[in-house]
């Protein structure tokens, strides 16, 4: 699968008193890129929600490398690096679009949930969606074996 990297143009309301993007907004940019990837793969998050499922965030991690200023455009690479029937890990590389310089790297871990708030096996309850994520995992390459292992043990 070939995806167009997600781009986010920095808005004035995203800057803070240091005249740079407030660090909490990178967490939001990761969500934007994650949802964009699901849409590009043909399975928008809204479709999953309409089926009664959600993908809440279990943890988030972000390393800030360089500050970003108003008017700059960020380009965000997204990879599914771990996948099991019940969980998923997504990694992010956030770069300045003009220069390619690295601004931040991040990781979010997720579980699959029913609308009632119960953890589910996405593989069993929405196998088509799970298959999409599995292809994303394979596309990311370097992490596939570990992910397969995890999947087998659950």
């Amino acid at each position: 699968m070939d995806f167009v990297p997600y781009r986010h143009k920095v808005q004035y309301y995203e800057t803070d008193g240091m005249r740079v993007v407030h660090h909490s907004n990178y967490i939001r940019f990761m969500e934007e890129a994650r949802c964009d990837l699901m849409e590009q793969m043909g399975y928008p998050y809204g479709r999953l929600e309409a089926m009664g499922f959600g993908i809440p965030v279990l943890s988030v991690q972000c390393d800030y490398k360089q500050m970003t200023r108003f008017g700059e455009t960020l380009v965000i690479g997204v990879e599914v690096t771990e996948l099991s029937p019940t969980r998923m890990t997504v990694c992010y590389e956030i770069r300045d679009d003009a220069t390619g310089s690295l601004r931040a790297t991040g990781e979010t871990r997720h579980c699959f949930l029913s609308i009632a708030g119960r953890p589910i096996s996405l593989k069993r309850e929405a196998p088509e969606a799970f298959e999409y994520f599995r292809r994303l995992l394979l596309a990311s390459g370097h992490e596939s074996e570990k992910a397969t292992d995890t999947a087998q043990t659950e």
Copy 2:
């Protein structure tokens, strides 16, 4: 009824590249003050939601008088200035807590809605809640007659 004016301490993430509170945040502070007033009057917004009703915003208006900086505390006066069985208008005065100087004034107009998204008469469907708002209107004083008129025509 006597209410404690709502106070909001300005956070760093609420400032922007001009090193002052971003103008969009005042709209959020008005919501905070509105919800605080409902809680103080004994009818928290969550209780109304639990009954299947909502009070969406039909319009918002804000005049910015002075800029507000990180670490300052705002004190927000709230008044219900118009009320009918189906609609409500709320006015706000936002001041610096330390000096009393006026930072912004605002107004929000609302309707009453069922969870299904249908406009309702709050007076008929939740008379107890309506009575609370009516007392807030009377407490605000100067706008009571007009509001009563509006209420009669709807």
Copy 3:
């Protein structure tokens, strides 16, 4: 001048507990569209800031017509409707991109400011920038005469 209307794709973090875009975010979308217009006209807001000027918001007004949901794309029309050497009014029409249905209309009023916080005549201190805004005003058509009058009196 011909401009590409600004588009904003609604993000999950912009929705609230009613499962629709929180009303305060429309104020941010207007800022996005305003900055995009300045960029399209060849005079990005950052350039004005680098020259030591700002365009703070004096007032904001928004009428909400319909709710907007996650995943929808908004298209935002922007017009400069009043301009004087010291002030500017901008109007907005926010529509659903897929159906064209009107979601909100808004207006922001601005003054021109030096970095020291002093109101300035943009016409005198940055005539080239002012000329750009004047062209936007003329492009909007219906409000040009009133704006010219206002400009003459200041």
Copy 4:
């Protein structure tokens, strides 16, 4: 030193389409609690900024344990767990105020910076401020030795 734990009442605009606090907001709550701690210890962040220094975030980490709903109040424990002349680590425990149940834990790592963006030794350039942070580190107890070691090596 004895501090009053920081409390944050959840606002409607902080919830998302899942009807719970959006995960990015916990990062903001940590900043609120961090700034409140500095204010309680007698050295507000604004004072450090006025002296020409900043404490930018190098990394952020958050584990989400339970969801938080509109109207609930969070109580946030903050500890300085590592300190060197040039860096600091802060840990957070976010609990529901009513029940004490754990909602999230987090960690932020920081460096000390001059306004020009140059990393500095806070110990050398603002020894009084550094001493305040050292007392916070000692108050946290369990991490003091490691922090002292780190400080010696830099």
